[in-house]
């Protein structure tokens, strides 16, 4: 009820208000390709967004593949340096500890990569 009264009060216009309305009135502006241009921009942006993530993942993967391969080789050589008894002890507690550690390292690298891509 109160809002109705407020709206009615809003609509009760004086002669001065009507004069101002007529002075502020402007003819409608023809579209002339304006909306097509906006929609074109929106579509381009949509496509860019759709391509951005797979593109960035591909690029990141291409850049990261060589250091990753080197890291895996390094880890493999490091594991060869460690005494085999140690693996035996760890394997006693956790089966396939070597694979788990390697997997965890790779996962951490992937997560860091994804995070930096998102940023």
């Amino acid at each position: 009820m109160i809002s109705k009264i407020i709206n009615m009060a809003d609509r009760m216009k004086s002669a001065e208000d009507r004069l101002l309305e007529s002075m502020f009135a402007a003819p409608p502006i023809a579209d002339d390709g304006f909306s097509a241009s906006v929609v074109g921009k929106v579509r381009r942006r949509l496509w860019l967004r759709r391509l951005a993530l797979p593109g960035a993942a591909l690029l990141g993967g291409a850049i990261a593949i060589k250091p990753l391969a080197a890291l895996v080789t390094l880890l493999a050589s490091l594991s060869a340096l460690l005494p085999q008894e140690l693996f035996g002890i760890i394997a006693g507690f956790i089966p396939q500890a070597q694979t788990v550690v390697l997997g965890a390292l790779l996962l951490a690298v992937c997560l860091l990569g994804m995070r930096s891509l998102e940023d």
Partner: protein, 183 residues
């Protein structure tokens, strides 16, 4: 598509990123948005650039439209924010140039019109501040209610009314409105 209400079109855009529905919304409201920004800037080219930015921002933020008020009210809020952001950017740019010791002869994007193009409305708008101009234009050119203007400008309804009152007083003291009435 053409018979659909604004709210239905907005729902289509938000749910399915339907660019055709968005295009229809742009077609429906481009004239009012461009007229609003032209009156705020006093520069047709700048106003049209800002209108494009406004619709791009609208696309990004469309999910924030609650559907409670009118769509044009929400759109003019986006347009006003875009205008203020553009003003802040150009002001900051001028400050950086000044700090760097350059002569600041960049175009001030404050309301300015060419002397030979000055019409009655341009003279009228030139005596108002940006805020007064925006609110007066929303009220008298776009037909928004005080409540809608309050939503669009984030000002209380009472402040909106007093700004309109102040704007009218300024116009009254600067011009004899009755003269305009009779040409």
């Amino acid at each position: 598509m053409y018979a659909a209400e604004d709210n239905q079109l907005v729902a289509r855009v938000v749910s399915a990123q339907d660019t055709r529905a968005f295009g229809e919304l742009v077609r429906r409201h481009q004239s009012q948005v461009r007229n609003f920004l032209r009156k705020l800037c006093g520069d047709i080219t700048l106003a049209d650039d800002l209108s494009q930015d406004c619709f791009m921002h609208a696309w990004d933020k469309l999910q924030t439209f609650s559907g409670r008020g009118s769509f044009i009210g929400w759109l003019l809020k986006v347009a006003y924010t875009t205008f203020l952001q553009s003003k802040r950017k150009s002001k900051r740019y001028a400050e950086i140039l000044e700090e760097a010791g350059h002569a600041t002869e960049i175009e001030d994007r404050h309301y300015s019109v060419q002397p030979d193009e000055v019409g009655d409305l341009d003279k009228l708008l030139a005596v108002l501040t940006d805020e007064e101009r925006a609110i007066m234009v929303m009220s008298y050119a776009c037909g928004l209610s005080h409540r809608e203007i309050s939503d669009a400008t984030n000002l209380p309804v009472g402040t909106v009314k007093s700004v309109i009152f102040r704007g009218k007083q300024k116009i009254r003291t600067s011009f004899d409105i009755k003269d305009h009435q009779h040409g």
